[in-house]
Amino acid sequence: MIVREAWAFRARVEREAAFRFARLAEEISAFDPDSPVPAMMRKAAEDERRHLALCEELAGGPVEGIAGSDRIAPRSLGPREAALYETVAACCITETESVATVTSLLSEDALPRVREVLHEIARDEVSHSRMGWAHLAREAGELEVGFLSRWLPSMLAGAAGSAFEPFEAEMDSPELLRHGVLPISRKRSTFVHTLREVVFPGLEQFGISTDAARAWLSERSPAAGGAGLR
């Protein structure tokens, strides 16, 4: 049950990402026509539609809807800043986390079909994360990107979903690994380590302060633990 629900949720995540990347490709090419990023985003939108079908297969059937909301940028931002906000949230944070999650799953003994699916997805997620860092690198030369600092906690909250909430014991079963799902305690530690060792240093490299983001994370995971068993 947990396994099917997890893959169904992923199917919605993939659909949400497909919509977002297709839209961002158009938005970014409007103000940065020489950027290689829009082509990467269009390719990513196609990848996500393929991932959607793979996730539906492992969920046991068709899945409707999207996981969150398509547009996530604060309304006060101008179009260029909003596109940067979404790209950082979706690619630099969420896709980077996806790479770490899938890599972590692939280091375990999953069922053969699950393994095949994870392999296919892992290959694509690497370029989805990179296109975010590519766009941020370009924009850091054009805009004052430090405005993103104060929005990082909102981005993290959306990416974490229910990961730090209390959980049922079955959500932490090592048996989940065979089905391509991380037990919740492992999911949390992967999420936290990826932020502290990849995402935060990456953002800081572009002069974006991560103080608020680090405070947000410390509140939720004093020792990378978070809330315990329900």
């Binding site: 919605r12 290689p36 370009r138 054009e142």
Partner: protein, 59 residues
């Protein structure tokens, strides 16, 4: 170890794909930059305090 590799593969690799003009400019500190409209000066005044952002759902 894994995370160090991910940093190089994703962050460094991505910045290079972007053309790295941003990085180089940043390091030099010489590029002229436009201020982001969100430097606390939202056009809709009072609504700005209620302005919220979200995140992208992930696996």
């Amino acid at each position: 170890m894994l995370f160090k590799k991910l940093f190089k593969l994703l962050v460094v690799g991505g910045a290079i794909l972007g053309g790295a003009t941003g990085c180089a400019a940043k390091a030099a500190g010489a590029e002229k930059k436009a201020a982001a409209p969100d430097a606390g000066t939202a056009a809709d005044g009072g609504a700005a305090s209620k302005d919220t952002g979200g995140g992208a759902s992930g696996w």
